[in-house]
């Protein structure tokens, strides 16, 4: 299996542990990737706010690059995946629009023909790699641990851009992958809610309330960690969890937030340090101990 790899700006910036753990896991799984080093930021919905067509153009440019490589695209960020999927939908259903955009890409000799598939690593695991094959690489049993899933808005809405009608498994993909490690899924209302990052600089009070509500609820239900396939969610849920707790609760939350590949890496036998878990704002040491104890290698 080989993919054109789009890590996203944040995996290369504010959450390097995501990039680090992804590379380790992909290597172990035998999934080959070639990084799209000349692709642009997807726009994350912010660029689209300013000018939707600009965002679509830049994403179609990325699709065209992957098309040239003859490879489907793998993303590791909910926001990247959702933004790209929306761009894909916009051009697939409107030939005139696609032609318009291709005209702007002609300078670079790029042209998109509509063939590139873009999937989040989470979907690739469930739909292409297969959970049974995934489990073969697990050496550490995570049963006894409870993980709360947190998808990230862009990976679950709007459903018509994300192919839920054609592939209904996507709606429970994160729970399925968590369960494949032996861990228990913490079922809570906020798993499909918003982390609040988009309004962090605009209305910090509300942003922190969202962080406190979702991490707090999961913690109160007994979660040992939250697992998310979106580094932007990670930035808020991890980075601002302390402040959120102080402003909204009488007690600390202290819920470690894991990137999806970090959870997989733990099941595969990597050390927390190898997976960059020491780089989180909310300490993961207790979780590391839980993982290392009896059920460990």
């Amino acid at each position: 299996m080989k993919y054109a790899f789009w890590p996203g700006c944040v995996a290369l910036g504010g959450t390097p542990e995501l990039y680090q753990s992804t590379k380790l896991v992909l290597n172990k799984l035998g999934i080959e990737v070639e990084e799209l080093t000349n692709a642009t930021c997807t726009g994350a919905g912010v660029l689209q706010e300013k000018n939707r067509k600009l965002g679509d153009t830049l994403n179609v440019r990325t699709f065209a690059q992957a098309e040239e490589m003859g490879l489907p695209i793998m993303t590791i960020c909910s926001t990247c995946q959702g933004t790209m999927a929306q761009a894909q939908l916009a051009v697939i259903k409107d030939d005139g629009y696609l032609a318009d955009i291709n005209a702007d890409l002609a300078d670079e000799g790029l042209e998109y023909h509509g063939d590139t598939v873009t999937k989040h690593f989470l979907w690739i695991l469930v739909e292409e790699y297969g959970l049974e094959n995934l489990k073969k690489h697990f050496v550490r049993d995570l049963s006894g641990l409870k993980f709360a899933p947190f998808y990230g808005c862009y990976l679950i809405r709007p459903s018509d851009a994300l192919g839920f009608a054609e592939v209904p498994e996507r709606e429970t993909s994160l729970e399925q992958v968590i369960e494949s490690t032996g861990a228990e899924v913490v079922d809570f209302k906020g798993s499909k809610a918003c982390c609040g990052l988009p309004i962090l600089f605009i209305n910090q009070g509300n942003s922190l309330k969202m962080v406190a509500t979702h991490t707090g609820t999961a913690k109160d239900l007994g979660a040992d960690a939250m697992v998310t396939p979106c580094p932007l969610c990670h930035l808020n849920l991890d980075g601002y969890q302390g402040k959120a707790a102080k402003k909204n609760r009488s007690s600390a939350i202290d819920l470690p937030i894991l990137h999806l590949p970090q959870m997989l890496g733990l099941a595969m036998g990597f050390t927390p340090k190898e997976l960059g878990m020491n780089k989180h704002m909310v300490s993961t040491s207790r979780l590391s101990e839980q993982v290392a104890s009896p059920a460990g290698v």
């Binding site: 700006c9 944040v10 290369l12 910036g13 504010g14 959450t15 390097p16 542990e17 080093t37 000349n38 692709a39 642009t40 930021c41 726009g43 994350a44 919905g45 912010v46 660029l47 689209q48 706010e49 300013k50 000018n51 939707r52 067509k53 600009l54 153009t57 830049l58 440019r61 702007d104 890409l105 300078d107 670079e108 808005c153 862009y154 809405r157 709007p158 459903s159 209302k189 809610a193 918003c194 609040g196 988009p198 309004i199 600089f201 605009i202 209305n203 009070g205 509300n206 942003s207 309330k209 969202m210 509500t213 980075g239 601002y240 402040k243 020491n278 780089k279 989180h280 704002m281």
Partner: protein, 328 residues
């Protein structure tokens, strides 16, 4: 469904319906289980109507047209807001399962499935939801391009059902947010060439609890039964507010910083984004971000303040600049 002479085939559906009687002394909401015989073409509303007509006349809910045009029957089905008159029962339920029905969220409950829409309508009134033409009034109709009217018809599809407000993630934590329905309504006037108060409207919406408070979670887009796309309208108004000169919000700075970063390098410069969004001269704001910044630095993951430039950044710059030209 087409009438046939044969006996109608029914199957038993299990519904769990939110009940609340404010007149009972220690009033607390509870769920009531109902078993109702349904036919395969039933909508959730058909099932609820059958309950109140044949099983339990005390169940209160709002409904009128049954044809998804009056907006009365928005409620939560299995946790998500829907217009129950157009929700086929078999799209949310299979035999053996239970469908949960709740009143719309983010609003006080009057009784059972009937929510108090007063906060909803108060917010709609706030945006001055009526035509405010300026200039001389023509004797005949205002001339307007059909394109504009068709565009408005899209947002006018809004039947004020409240599904978007019910499920809005910002309203969940902050009831002062003006909300997607009021904002979509505001857009209807901002985008109407006959209204003369575009700049003033955008100015007001630019303030607290307005267009910049939307967290872009797309919940309103997902649940809207009429494809109004409230979030997209909010986004367009953000851009229009910037165009009208309202550049002093952190939201406007955030958007501009993002675009400039991509223009310069093709990628997002997170550290500059944080600093520029907060406002370079906003010393207290900058200081408030320092603790997280310092912690990140100590963990070795404070993103470099220098741009991550892609090889073809010149080509990307051209694309960005072209889009700015054409949007003028």
């Amino acid at each position: 469904m087409p009438e046939t002479e044969t006996t109608v085939k029914t199957v038993t559906a299990n519904l769990k319906v939110y009940r609340y009687d404010p007149e009972v002394g220690d009033a607390k909401p509870y769920y009531q289980d109902y078993e109702v015989e349904v036919e395969d073409w039933f909508t959730v509303l058909d099932a609820l109507i059958k309950i109140r007509e044949e099983i339990d006349g005390t169940l209160s809910l709002r409904c009128a047209c049954r044809a998804s045009i009056c907006g009365s029957c928005a409620m939560k089905v299995n946790g998500e807001a829907k217009l129950v008159c157009k929700t086929k029962l078999d799209s949310v339920w299979s035999p053996g399962e239970t469908v949960t029905v709740d009143p719309p969220g983010n609003m006080p409950v009057i009784t059972d499935l009937v929510a108090d829409f007063k906060p909803f309508w108060d917010k709609v009134r706030q945006v001055k939801p009526y035509m405010q033409p300026t200039g001389p009034v023509p004797t005949a109709e205002y001339l307007a391009p059909n394109e504009d009217m068709v565009h408005l018809a899209g947002v006018m599809n809004c039947i004020m059902c409240g599904a978007c407000v019910s499920d809005c993630t910002v309203l969940e934590v902050d009831k002062s947010f003006i909300g997607p329905a009021a904002l979509a309504k505001a857009y209807r006037f901002v985008a109407d060439p006959r209204d003369g108060k575009k700049k003033e409207r955008l100015g007001e919406l630019n303030g607290d609890a307005g267009i910049w408070d939307c967290t872009r979670c797309m919940q309103c887009v997902e649940v809207c039964p009429k494809d109004v796309d409230p979030m997209e309208r909010i986004m367009v108004m953000r851009d229009q507010a910037i165009e009208e000169g309202y550049t002093g919000t952190s939201g406007a700075r955030h958007t501009e910083s993002f675009v400039n970063s991509v223009r310069r390098s093709g990628r997002l410069n997170e550290t500059r984004l944080a600093i520029e969004s907060m406002g370079v001269m906003n010393i207290p704001g900058q200081i408030s971000m320092a603790p997280v910044g310092i912690k990140a630095l100590l963990k070795g993951k404070l993103p470099s303040p220098l741009d991550h430039k892609i090889p073809s950044k010149a080509a990307v710059k051209k694309i960005v600049e072209k889009s700015e030209e054409t949007s003028k």
